[in-house]
Protein backbone atom coordinates (compact mmCIF):
# COMPACT_ATOMS: atom_id res chain seq x y z
CA UNK A 1 0.00 0.00 0.00
CA UNK A 2 1.40 3.33 -0.96
CA UNK A 3 1.91 5.82 1.78
CA UNK A 4 -0.90 8.32 1.78
CA UNK A 5 -3.56 5.87 0.77
CA UNK A 6 -5.55 4.98 3.84
CA UNK A 7 -7.31 1.80 2.89
CA UNK A 8 -7.14 -1.82 3.76
CA UNK A 9 -4.13 -2.01 6.04
CA UNK A 10 -4.93 0.95 8.26
CA UNK A 11 -8.53 0.35 9.24
CA UNK A 12 -9.05 2.59 12.26
CA UNK A 13 -8.26 6.23 12.65
CA UNK A 14 -8.72 7.48 16.18
CA UNK A 15 -9.86 11.01 16.75
CA UNK A 16 -6.49 12.39 17.99
CA UNK A 17 -5.07 11.57 14.60
CA UNK A 18 -7.43 13.92 12.83
CA UNK A 19 -6.78 17.63 12.77
CA UNK A 20 -10.23 18.88 13.69
CA UNK A 21 -9.25 22.45 12.96
CA UNK A 22 -9.08 21.62 9.27
CA UNK A 23 -11.94 21.87 6.80
CA UNK A 24 -13.31 18.61 5.44
CA UNK A 25 -15.57 19.02 2.42
CA UNK A 26 -17.33 15.68 2.08
CA UNK A 27 -19.07 14.97 -1.19
CA UNK A 28 -20.04 11.48 -0.18
CA UNK A 29 -22.96 10.59 2.05
CA UNK A 30 -22.69 11.07 5.76
CA UNK A 31 -25.10 8.86 7.66
CA UNK A 32 -25.72 8.54 11.35
CA UNK A 33 -26.76 12.17 11.80
CA UNK A 34 -30.32 13.27 12.44
CA UNK A 35 -31.59 15.09 9.39
CA UNK A 36 -33.31 18.37 10.10
CA UNK A 37 -36.95 18.34 8.95
CA UNK A 38 -36.76 22.00 7.99
CA UNK A 39 -34.72 22.80 4.87
CA UNK A 40 -34.26 26.32 3.55
CA UNK A 41 -34.87 26.16 -0.20
CA UNK A 42 -34.58 29.77 -1.25
CA UNK A 43 -34.97 33.33 -0.04
CA UNK A 44 -36.34 36.34 -1.86
CA UNK A 45 -34.82 39.60 -0.70
CA UNK A 46 -36.41 42.75 -1.99
CA UNK A 47 -34.07 45.08 -3.81
CA UNK A 48 -36.37 47.95 -2.93
CA UNK A 49 -38.44 47.98 -6.10
CA UNK A 50 -39.91 44.56 -6.86
CA UNK A 51 -43.17 44.16 -8.71
CA UNK A 52 -43.41 40.54 -7.58
CA UNK A 53 -41.65 37.85 -5.58
CA UNK A 54 -41.85 34.53 -7.38
CA UNK A 55 -40.76 31.03 -6.41
CA UNK A 56 -40.57 28.99 -9.60
CA UNK A 57 -38.32 26.14 -8.54
CA UNK A 58 -38.07 23.78 -5.62
CA UNK A 59 -41.82 23.35 -5.13
CA UNK A 60 -42.34 19.73 -6.07
CA UNK A 61 -42.90 16.30 -4.55
CA UNK A 62 -39.76 16.45 -2.42
CA UNK A 63 -41.74 17.74 0.56
CA UNK A 64 -45.30 17.27 1.75
CA UNK A 65 -45.37 20.78 3.19
CA UNK A 66 -43.79 24.07 2.17
CA UNK A 67 -43.42 26.86 4.70
CA UNK A 68 -43.13 30.47 3.57
CA UNK A 69 -41.84 32.93 6.16
CA UNK A 70 -42.47 36.59 5.46
CA UNK A 71 -40.36 39.17 7.23
CA UNK A 72 -40.85 42.93 7.16
CA UNK A 73 -42.62 43.13 3.81
CA UNK A 74 -42.83 46.84 3.14
CA UNK A 75 -45.14 48.35 0.49
CA UNK A 76 -44.57 51.25 -1.83
CA UNK A 77 -48.24 52.15 -1.53
CA UNK A 78 -49.76 52.98 1.83
CA UNK A 79 -52.73 50.71 2.51
CA UNK A 80 -51.92 48.20 -0.25
CA UNK A 81 -53.18 44.63 0.03
CA UNK A 82 -50.50 41.91 0.11
CA UNK A 83 -51.51 38.83 -1.85
CA UNK A 84 -50.36 35.60 -3.43
CA UNK A 85 -51.33 33.06 -6.07
CA UNK A 86 -50.10 29.74 -7.42
CA UNK A 87 -49.12 28.33 -10.79
CA UNK A 88 -49.41 24.92 -12.42
CA UNK A 89 -47.07 25.82 -15.28
CA UNK A 90 -43.87 26.72 -13.43
CA UNK A 91 -44.73 30.37 -13.22
CA UNK A 92 -45.73 31.08 -16.80
CA UNK A 93 -49.02 32.27 -15.36
CA UNK A 94 -50.53 32.65 -11.91
CA UNK A 95 -54.24 32.18 -11.34
CA UNK A 96 -55.34 28.80 -10.03
CA UNK A 97 -59.02 28.64 -9.07
CA UNK A 98 -59.31 29.00 -5.31
CA UNK A 99 -61.90 29.17 -2.56
CA UNK A 100 -60.70 30.90 0.60
CA UNK A 101 -61.74 32.35 3.93
CA UNK A 102 -60.40 35.44 5.63
CA UNK A 103 -60.87 36.95 9.07
CA UNK A 104 -58.80 39.42 10.99
CA UNK A 105 -58.30 41.06 14.34
CA UNK A 106 -57.58 44.76 14.51
CA UNK A 107 -56.48 46.98 17.37
CA UNK A 108 -55.34 50.55 16.92
CA UNK A 109 -52.70 52.56 18.74
CA UNK A 110 -55.29 55.08 19.94
CA UNK A 111 -57.18 52.25 21.65
CA UNK A 112 -60.35 53.38 19.91
CA UNK A 113 -60.95 50.53 17.47
CA UNK A 114 -60.85 46.83 18.28
CA UNK A 115 -62.54 44.40 15.99
CA UNK A 116 -62.71 40.71 15.10
CA UNK A 117 -64.59 39.83 11.96
CA UNK A 118 -64.95 37.83 8.78
CA UNK A 119 -63.83 39.87 5.77
CA UNK A 120 -66.07 39.13 2.81
CA UNK A 121 -64.10 41.47 0.60
CA UNK A 122 -60.92 39.50 1.14
CA UNK A 123 -62.11 35.97 0.42
CA UNK A 124 -62.48 34.12 -2.88
CA UNK A 125 -65.17 31.77 -4.20
CA UNK A 126 -63.89 29.73 -7.12
CA UNK A 127 -61.86 32.66 -8.35
CA UNK A 128 -58.51 32.94 -10.08
CA UNK A 129 -57.79 36.31 -8.51
CA UNK A 130 -54.84 36.75 -6.19
CA UNK A 131 -55.55 35.76 -2.58
CA UNK A 132 -55.51 38.52 0.02
CA UNK A 133 -53.11 37.89 2.87
CA UNK A 134 -54.20 41.10 4.57
CA UNK A 135 -56.51 44.02 3.88
CA UNK A 136 -54.22 46.93 4.43
CA UNK A 137 -50.43 47.33 4.66
CA UNK A 138 -49.17 50.48 6.32
CA UNK A 139 -46.54 52.23 4.26
CA UNK A 140 -44.87 54.40 6.87
CA UNK A 141 -41.13 53.91 7.11
CA UNK A 142 -41.44 51.71 10.18
CA UNK A 143 -44.45 49.72 8.98
CA UNK A 144 -44.39 46.27 7.38
CA UNK A 145 -45.98 42.83 7.46
CA UNK A 146 -44.63 39.49 8.66
CA UNK A 147 -46.13 36.04 8.88
CA UNK A 148 -46.19 32.40 7.96
CA UNK A 149 -47.92 30.53 5.12
CA UNK A 150 -48.15 26.76 4.93
CA UNK A 151 -48.81 25.07 1.59
CA UNK A 152 -49.63 21.38 1.82
CA UNK A 153 -48.66 18.71 -0.69
CA UNK A 154 -48.62 20.94 -3.78
CA UNK A 155 -47.53 18.12 -6.07
CA UNK A 156 -50.60 15.99 -5.42
CA UNK A 157 -52.49 15.01 -8.55
CA UNK A 158 -55.31 13.54 -6.48
CA UNK A 159 -56.39 16.24 -4.02
CA UNK A 160 -56.94 19.98 -3.95
CA UNK A 161 -54.06 21.99 -2.40
CA UNK A 162 -54.72 23.42 1.06
CA UNK A 163 -52.95 26.39 2.58
CA UNK A 164 -53.15 28.35 5.82
CA UNK A 165 -51.76 31.80 6.46
CA UNK A 166 -51.37 34.16 9.39
CA UNK A 167 -49.90 37.59 8.70
CA UNK A 168 -49.36 40.28 11.30
CA UNK A 169 -49.04 43.76 9.88
CA UNK A 170 -49.41 47.42 10.57
CA UNK A 171 -52.67 49.00 9.65
CA UNK A 172 -52.17 52.16 7.63
CA UNK A 173 -54.20 54.02 10.27
CA UNK A 174 -51.64 52.86 12.88
CA UNK A 175 -52.61 49.64 14.52
CA UNK A 176 -52.03 45.91 14.72
CA UNK A 177 -53.59 43.85 11.97
CA UNK A 178 -53.62 40.06 12.48
CA UNK A 179 -55.03 38.32 9.40
CA UNK A 180 -55.98 34.63 9.08
CA UNK A 181 -56.44 33.35 5.54
CA UNK A 182 -56.95 29.75 4.47
CA UNK A 183 -58.40 27.73 1.66
CA UNK A 184 -57.56 25.52 -1.24
CA UNK A 185 -56.41 25.73 -4.79
CA UNK A 186 -59.17 23.76 -6.46
CA UNK A 187 -57.10 21.78 -8.87
CA UNK A 188 -55.79 18.25 -9.09
CA UNK A 189 -52.87 19.44 -11.20
CA UNK A 190 -49.58 19.86 -9.39
CA UNK A 191 -48.86 23.36 -8.11
CA UNK A 192 -45.22 24.14 -8.89
CA UNK A 193 -44.77 27.88 -8.37
CA UNK A 194 -46.00 30.64 -6.08
CA UNK A 195 -45.98 34.40 -6.50
CA UNK A 196 -46.41 37.23 -3.97
CA UNK A 197 -47.14 40.88 -4.72
CA UNK A 198 -48.98 43.95 -3.59
CA UNK A 199 -52.29 44.68 -5.29
CA UNK A 200 -50.86 48.09 -6.11
CA UNK A 201 -47.32 49.34 -6.03
CA UNK A 202 -44.05 47.57 -5.44
CA UNK A 203 -42.54 45.45 -2.71
CA UNK A 204 -39.98 47.89 -1.37
CA UNK A 205 -38.42 45.84 1.40
CA UNK A 206 -38.41 42.53 3.20
CA UNK A 207 -37.63 38.88 2.72
CA UNK A 208 -39.61 35.75 1.95
CA UNK A 209 -37.99 32.41 2.69
CA UNK A 210 -39.41 29.08 1.63
CA UNK A 211 -38.64 25.94 3.58
CA UNK A 212 -39.34 22.32 2.80
CA UNK A 213 -40.75 20.39 5.77
CA UNK A 214 -39.70 16.75 5.69
Amino acid sequence: MAFGEVGTALSKIKSPAVNLADTFAFSGTVTGFTKTPLTLLSTFTSDGSDATASFTSGIDSTYKEYLFVLNDIHPQTDGAVFEFQASTNTGSSYGVTATTTCFDVVGDEANENQNLGYRTGSDLAQSTNFINLNRNSGGDNDQASSGVIRLYNPSSTTFVKHFTSRVIGNWAANGSFDTFTAGYFNTTSAVDAVQFKFASGEIQGGTISVFGVA
Binding site: G4, V6, I13, A17, V18, N19, L20, D22, T23, F24, A25, F26, S27, G28, T29, V30, T31, G32, F33, T34, K35, T36, P37, L38, K64, E65, T99, T100, T101, C102, F103, L116, G117, Y118, T120, D123, L124, A125, Q126, R150, Y152, N153, S156, T158, F159, V160, H162, F163, T164, F180, A182, G183, Y184, N186, T188, V213, A214
Partner: protein
Protein backbone atom coordinates in the same frame (compact mmCIF):
# COMPACT_ATOMS: atom_id res chain seq x y z
CA UNK B 1 8.56 10.67 12.01
CA UNK B 2 5.43 9.23 13.43
CA UNK B 3 2.22 9.73 11.51
CA UNK B 4 0.36 11.90 14.01
CA UNK B 5 -2.19 13.92 12.05
CA UNK B 6 -4.31 13.21 9.01
CA UNK B 7 -4.97 16.18 6.77
CA UNK B 8 -8.11 16.42 4.60
CA UNK B 9 -6.19 15.24 1.58
CA UNK B 10 -5.67 11.92 3.32
CA UNK B 11 -9.37 11.18 3.24
CA UNK B 12 -11.37 10.03 0.26
CA UNK B 13 -14.02 12.70 0.59
CA UNK B 14 -16.29 10.97 -1.91
CA UNK B 15 -16.60 7.97 0.40
CA UNK B 16 -19.52 7.41 2.75
CA UNK B 17 -18.82 7.88 6.44
CA UNK B 18 -21.28 6.41 8.91
CA UNK B 19 -20.59 7.99 12.28
CA UNK B 20 -21.78 6.10 15.32
CA UNK B 21 -19.81 8.09 17.87
CA UNK B 22 -20.70 11.43 19.34
CA UNK B 23 -19.84 14.67 17.62
CA UNK B 24 -19.11 17.46 20.04
CA UNK B 25 -18.24 21.07 19.46
CA UNK B 26 -21.13 21.55 17.07
CA UNK B 27 -24.23 23.40 18.14
CA UNK B 28 -27.31 21.35 17.40
CA UNK B 29 -29.49 23.66 15.34
CA UNK B 30 -32.05 20.99 14.67
CA UNK B 31 -34.83 22.08 17.00
CA UNK B 32 -37.54 20.21 15.11
CA UNK B 33 -37.14 16.44 15.11
CA UNK B 34 -39.24 14.14 12.95
CA UNK B 35 -40.20 11.20 15.17
CA UNK B 36 -42.69 9.16 13.20
CA UNK B 37 -44.73 9.18 9.99
CA UNK B 38 -47.94 7.17 9.66
CA UNK B 39 -49.71 6.72 6.36
CA UNK B 40 -53.37 5.80 6.30
CA UNK B 41 -54.68 3.03 4.10
CA UNK B 42 -58.30 2.43 5.00
CA UNK B 43 -57.22 2.73 8.63
CA UNK B 44 -59.69 2.64 11.49
CA UNK B 45 -57.32 4.68 13.64
CA UNK B 46 -53.83 6.14 13.48
CA UNK B 47 -52.10 6.01 16.86
CA UNK B 48 -48.81 7.24 18.29
CA UNK B 49 -47.90 5.43 21.52
CA UNK B 50 -44.69 6.09 23.40
CA UNK B 51 -42.30 3.17 23.08
CA UNK B 52 -44.19 1.47 20.28
CA UNK B 53 -42.94 1.44 16.69
CA UNK B 54 -40.11 3.88 17.51
CA UNK B 55 -42.51 6.54 18.77
CA UNK B 56 -41.24 8.95 21.40
CA UNK B 57 -43.98 10.70 23.35
CA UNK B 58 -42.57 11.37 26.78
CA UNK B 59 -40.45 13.90 28.65
CA UNK B 60 -37.85 13.96 25.85
CA UNK B 61 -39.66 16.94 24.34
CA UNK B 62 -41.78 19.61 25.98
CA UNK B 63 -43.80 20.19 22.85
CA UNK B 64 -44.99 17.81 20.18
CA UNK B 65 -46.30 18.76 16.74
CA UNK B 66 -48.57 16.66 14.55
CA UNK B 67 -48.86 17.45 10.83
CA UNK B 68 -51.87 16.28 8.85
CA UNK B 69 -51.33 15.96 5.10
CA UNK B 70 -54.30 15.35 2.79
CA UNK B 71 -56.43 13.38 5.25
CA UNK B 72 -59.27 11.81 3.30
CA UNK B 73 -62.22 10.01 4.95
CA UNK B 74 -63.87 6.89 3.60
CA UNK B 75 -67.30 8.18 4.67
CA UNK B 76 -68.88 11.46 3.65
CA UNK B 77 -69.69 14.17 6.23
CA UNK B 78 -67.67 12.85 9.13
CA UNK B 79 -65.40 14.53 11.67
CA UNK B 80 -61.75 14.00 12.55
CA UNK B 81 -61.24 13.57 16.29
CA UNK B 82 -58.39 13.20 18.77
CA UNK B 83 -58.14 11.10 21.92
CA UNK B 84 -55.43 10.46 24.50
CA UNK B 85 -54.26 7.53 26.60
CA UNK B 86 -52.37 7.31 29.86
CA UNK B 87 -51.92 3.53 29.73
CA UNK B 88 -51.01 3.03 26.09
CA UNK B 89 -54.16 1.07 25.38
CA UNK B 90 -57.33 2.91 26.32
CA UNK B 91 -57.76 6.23 24.50
CA UNK B 92 -60.36 7.57 26.88
CA UNK B 93 -58.88 10.54 28.74
CA UNK B 94 -61.57 13.11 29.56
CA UNK B 95 -61.22 16.36 27.62
CA UNK B 96 -62.74 19.81 27.41
CA UNK B 97 -62.30 21.65 24.12
CA UNK B 98 -63.39 24.56 21.96
CA UNK B 99 -63.60 25.17 18.25
CA UNK B 100 -64.27 28.12 16.02
CA UNK B 101 -64.11 28.30 12.25
CA UNK B 102 -64.13 30.59 9.28
CA UNK B 103 -66.00 29.30 6.25
CA UNK B 104 -66.83 30.23 2.69
CA UNK B 105 -68.91 28.37 0.13
CA UNK B 106 -67.65 27.82 -3.39
CA UNK B 107 -70.82 29.40 -4.80
CA UNK B 108 -70.17 32.52 -2.70
CA UNK B 109 -73.61 32.25 -1.10
CA UNK B 110 -72.41 31.97 2.49
CA UNK B 111 -69.60 32.92 4.83
CA UNK B 112 -69.14 32.27 8.51
CA UNK B 113 -66.93 33.08 11.45
CA UNK B 114 -68.38 31.40 14.49
CA UNK B 115 -68.03 29.11 17.46
CA UNK B 116 -68.76 25.50 16.45
CA UNK B 117 -70.78 24.16 19.35
CA UNK B 118 -71.22 20.73 17.82
CA UNK B 119 -67.49 20.19 17.54
CA UNK B 120 -66.45 20.76 21.15
CA UNK B 121 -66.66 18.50 24.18
CA UNK B 122 -67.20 19.28 27.86
CA UNK B 123 -65.59 16.61 29.98
CA UNK B 124 -65.98 14.11 27.19
CA UNK B 125 -64.01 12.35 24.49
CA UNK B 126 -63.70 12.68 20.71
CA UNK B 127 -63.22 16.46 20.37
CA UNK B 128 -63.10 17.48 16.74
CA UNK B 129 -60.02 18.80 14.99
CA UNK B 130 -61.77 19.11 11.61
CA UNK B 131 -65.46 18.69 10.85
CA UNK B 132 -67.91 17.84 8.09
CA UNK B 133 -65.27 16.30 5.87
CA UNK B 134 -66.11 15.39 2.31
CA UNK B 135 -65.13 12.09 0.77
CA UNK B 136 -65.18 13.28 -2.83
CA UNK B 137 -62.15 12.10 -4.73
CA UNK B 138 -60.34 15.44 -4.44
CA UNK B 139 -61.60 16.36 -0.95
CA UNK B 140 -59.42 16.23 2.14
CA UNK B 141 -57.98 18.40 4.90
CA UNK B 142 -54.49 19.41 6.00
CA UNK B 143 -53.16 21.19 9.06
CA UNK B 144 -51.31 20.80 12.32
CA UNK B 145 -51.79 20.29 16.05
CA UNK B 146 -49.48 21.13 18.96
CA UNK B 147 -49.51 19.04 22.15
CA UNK B 148 -47.83 20.68 25.13
CA UNK B 149 -45.88 18.80 27.78
CA UNK B 150 -47.76 15.48 27.71
CA UNK B 151 -45.50 13.93 30.35
CA UNK B 152 -46.42 16.43 33.05
CA UNK B 153 -47.75 14.90 36.23
CA UNK B 154 -48.69 18.31 37.57
CA UNK B 155 -50.78 19.97 34.91
CA UNK B 156 -53.52 19.02 32.47
CA UNK B 157 -52.34 18.58 28.87
CA UNK B 158 -53.19 21.40 26.51
CA UNK B 159 -53.38 21.15 22.75
CA UNK B 160 -54.26 23.45 19.87
CA UNK B 161 -54.99 22.68 16.24
CA UNK B 162 -55.48 24.53 12.97
CA UNK B 163 -56.75 22.82 9.85
CA UNK B 164 -57.86 23.81 6.37
CA UNK B 165 -60.72 21.71 5.05
CA UNK B 166 -62.53 21.10 1.79
CA UNK B 167 -65.81 20.08 3.38
CA UNK B 168 -68.66 17.90 2.18
CA UNK B 169 -70.85 20.86 1.19
CA UNK B 170 -68.09 22.42 -0.90
CA UNK B 171 -66.99 24.98 1.65
CA UNK B 172 -63.50 26.08 2.48
CA UNK B 173 -63.29 25.84 6.28
CA UNK B 174 -60.48 27.06 8.51
CA UNK B 175 -60.81 25.34 11.89
CA UNK B 176 -59.19 26.46 15.12
CA UNK B 177 -59.56 23.83 17.83
CA UNK B 178 -58.02 23.75 21.29
CA UNK B 179 -58.50 22.05 24.60
CA UNK B 180 -56.97 19.97 27.32
CA UNK B 181 -56.80 16.37 28.37
CA UNK B 182 -58.03 16.72 31.93
CA UNK B 183 -55.56 14.47 33.69
CA UNK B 184 -52.44 14.92 35.79
CA UNK B 185 -51.20 11.50 34.73
CA UNK B 186 -48.66 11.48 31.94
CA UNK B 187 -50.22 11.16 28.50
CA UNK B 188 -48.35 8.42 26.66
CA UNK B 189 -50.30 8.13 23.44
CA UNK B 190 -52.51 9.92 20.95
CA UNK B 191 -55.12 8.43 18.64
CA UNK B 192 -56.74 10.01 15.60
CA UNK B 193 -59.84 8.65 13.90
CA UNK B 194 -62.96 9.62 12.02
CA UNK B 195 -66.27 9.92 13.86
CA UNK B 196 -67.50 7.20 11.53
CA UNK B 197 -65.74 5.04 8.98
CA UNK B 198 -62.07 4.74 8.19
CA UNK B 199 -59.30 7.17 7.44
CA UNK B 200 -59.06 6.24 3.79
CA UNK B 201 -55.87 8.11 2.84
CA UNK B 202 -53.46 10.63 4.28
CA UNK B 203 -50.29 11.11 6.26
CA UNK B 204 -49.75 12.14 9.88
CA UNK B 205 -46.29 13.15 11.03
CA UNK B 206 -45.15 13.51 14.63
CA UNK B 207 -42.34 15.93 15.50
CA UNK B 208 -40.66 16.77 18.77
CA UNK B 209 -39.71 20.38 19.42
CA UNK B 210 -36.64 21.00 21.57
Amino acid sequence: MALSKFKPASFDLTDNYAFTGTTTGVTDTNQLVLIKTLTASSSNTLSFVNGASSVVLDATYKTYLFKFIDIHPATNNVDFVINYTTDGTNFNVTQTSSMFAAGHSEDNSATLLEYRAGADVAQGTNPQVAENLGNGNDECFSGELFLFNPSSTTFVKRWQGNTATYNQANYSLNHFSAGYANTTSAVTGVEFKMSSGNIDLGTIKLYGIL
